[in-house]
């Protein structure tokens, strides 16, 4: 082990080279035998062997539908599925596992909340207001636009400062007695910004508004305690935290989940059904209509075990350290402009930037030629790109397996891109 791969994180030795051995795909070579440098983890994370094994074991040994099969496999599958719910609840500090709802992804979780506010006891009306922010992912903008279109409510939003922070200057006017719901991102997938959730929650709750938190980027990177955050709903997705695609989570406060109407109707979410009407199951099944992605839930449980074994404090410390290293390294590239905070303070690991006049597609294509995988485009955040006067950016994003030498490879690739289009 060399000094590059070993860093002291608290009292735990964090050995990134050892962790990398858990991820078979990191051994891949691409284009003319180049080593893969995967810097697109904000898009989706890679999966450790432990998660891949859990998926295979489920299908090979336990595959069955859940909550209805009266046979051995059905009981095993149900136990695996519900066991994962307990793991996820413990992982996010949810005191009540029945308030952990499995969804398809963060997008579905956010749409769920927006949908159950179109009608029922908390249905919005003309004159009501919904508050989001300019740095949201499209999945936390469009559902609220649709909600406002359907109900006649008004959509408003926080602006963003030049250094990529939430503009809190008008919070008391923005969140007012007409506000019914505030939905914001915890850590931005474009800017990397970690938002001041407590201040937003304090103001929102003072006027009786609910707070929804898009934690898609934060749950994978930081210790997250939903109860301590004080929000009302939290959405995140499995595939960005070492888990499979097709599985996400909505956590919500029990009294709200019980009070609000159902989202999708179908099997498993009912109590009784007649031709005239139905009554609904209790939590969490009320919000889990139809056969869920069972193996993916089991896989998410394995991902949570994997992250817990490393320790989220250690994951967060590594993320902060590698982000600081990357920000310093990128500052040496002339013509490079970072969108968002340029220091690793209150910041996640996604770093979006422009490089002179070279279009992000071209930057990413050159990097790909050298095996460096980044994302180019607006990263489902067109409004925040418009805010900074660009139509697109290149984004490098790290995770628990990212090394300093991979950041070095990125910088070398960027210099090559500059020479290519000079």
């Amino acid at each position: 082990m060399n000094s590059d791969s070993m860093t002291e994180v608290g009292t735990i030795a964090y050995d990134v080279e050892q962790l990398r051995k858990d991820f078979p795909i990191l051994e891949r070579r691409v284009h003319d035998n180049q080593s893969l440098v995967y810097l697109d983890s904000a898009n989706t994370s890679q999966k450790p062997r432990q998660v891949l094994d859990a998926l295979a074991e489920f299908y090979e040994q336990h595959n069955s539908n859940i909550h209805r099969a009266t046979h051995a496999l059905g009981e095993e599958a149900t136990a695996g599925y519900e066991d994962a719910r307990l793991k996820v609840a413990a992982f996010i500090g949810a005191p009540d596992p029945e308030t952990v709802i499995f969804t398809k992804n963060s997008t579905e979780a956010l749409n769920l909340v927006a949908n159950v506010m179109t009608w029922g006891p908390r249905g919005l009306k003309p004159g009501d207001e919904v508050v989001i922010t300019e740095m949201e992912h499209h999945s936390n903008i469009v559902p609220w636009q649709i909600l406002c279109q359907r109900t006649g409510a008004t959509l408003r939003w926080f602006g963003v400062t030049d250094d990529g922070r939430l503009d809190m200057s008008a919070i008391d006017e923005l969140i007012n007695e007409r506000t019914k719901v505030v939905s914001l991102v915890h850590v931005s997938n474009v800017l990397g910004t970690l938002n001041p959730v407590a201040a937003v929650v304090a103001r929102a709750h003072a006027v009786g508004a609910l707070v929804v938190l898009d934690a898609s980027q934060s749950v994978p990177q930081l210790p997250v305690d939903v109860d301590a955050l004080g929000v009302d709903f939290v959405a995140f997705t499995g595939h960005k935290m070492c888990g499979p695609t097709g599985i996400g989570v909505l956590w919500g406060r029990r009294e709200l989940l019980e009070e609000l109407p159902p989202f999708l109707g179908g099997g498993e979410m009912i109590e009784t059904v007649t031709m005239q009407a139905s009554t609904y199951a209790g939590l969490p099944h009320k919000y889990e209509a139809g056969t869920p992605p069972i193996a993916q839930v089991v896989g998410l449980g394995a991902a949570v075990d994997y992250l817990s074994n490393i320790g989220m404090d250690a994951v967060a410390a590594h993320e902060k350290q590698i982000t600081a290293y990357a920000l310093e390294a990128l500052a040496t590239v002339s013509g490079l402009r970072i969108l968002g905070p340029t220091t690793a303070v209150d910041r996640g690991g996604a770093i979006s930037f422009t490089l002179g006049d070279i279009h992000p597609h071209d930057v990413a294509q050159i990097l790909d030629g050298y095996g460096v995988a980044v994302r180019a485009g607006h990263h489902c955040g067109r409004p925040i790109h418009q805010r900074f006067g660009v139509s697109a950016s290149t984004r490098a994003s790290s995770y628990l397996y990212t090394t300093q030498s991979e950041i070095d490879a990125l910088v070398v690739g960027l210099e090559k891109a500059k020479r290519f289009f000079d």
């Binding site: 003319d32 279009h359 597609h361 294509q365 180019a376 485009g377 607006h378 139509s391 697109a392």
Partner: protein
């Protein structure tokens, strides 16, 4: 290194010094097309005189592939018959859908044959096609206008294609 197969010198030349760029008067139709996956945009104007394309002008923001493609397009259609341009359009579309397998007709496509390498990269095919789709759309609208009775109500001059991400 496979990058050179995409970034041919001809493409880089057109990217650095695009031909016929800028919006000009007069024009029959103006369209605005976007690539929803990356936000690349083009505003393109077409002026026809009978069956001849007398001008194609454009303002665009995008990657080297989309910029170079617009430049090459204008070389191929300005001053020529609409039908000739549509034949080139068909050839270029087929080339871009060929996954690198086509042997393009240089007599028809001229500099556009340099885009053969781009067709091996599915994510970039849309970049290369952005201006061509805009031109076809604008030209179709301009031809419709030619057949309208004087003083008739013209169709919407600007259109945006549906997103296909």
């Amino acid at each position: 290194m496979q990058l050179e197969s995409m970034y041919q010198e001809i493409i880089l030349d057109h990217y650095r010094k695009p031909h016929h760029k800028g919006l000009r008067e007069p024009y029959d139709v103006e369209v605005h097309h976007v690539n929803p996956t990356c936000g690349d945009e083009i505003t393109l104007r077409v002026k026809l005189d009978g069956d001849t394309v007398t001008d194609v002008s454009y303002d665009s923001a995008g990657c080297s592939i989309s910029q170079a493609s617009a430049s090459v397009l204008t070389d191929l259609v300005i001053g020529r018959a609409v039908e000739t341009g549509l034949v080139a359009h068909g050839e270029f579309l087929a080339l871009m859908q060929s996954k690198g397998a086509a042997t393009p007709d240089e007599d028809i496509l001229e500099d556009a044959v340099a885009f053969t390498g781009v067709s091996k990269y599915p994510a970039r095919v849309k970049c290369a096609l952005l201006s061509w789709m805009a031109w076809k759309d604008a030209t179709a609208q301009a031809r419709e206008k030619q057949f309208e009775p004087a003083g008739g109500i013209s169709p919407a001059a600007a259109s945006t294609p549906e997103g296909t991400s």
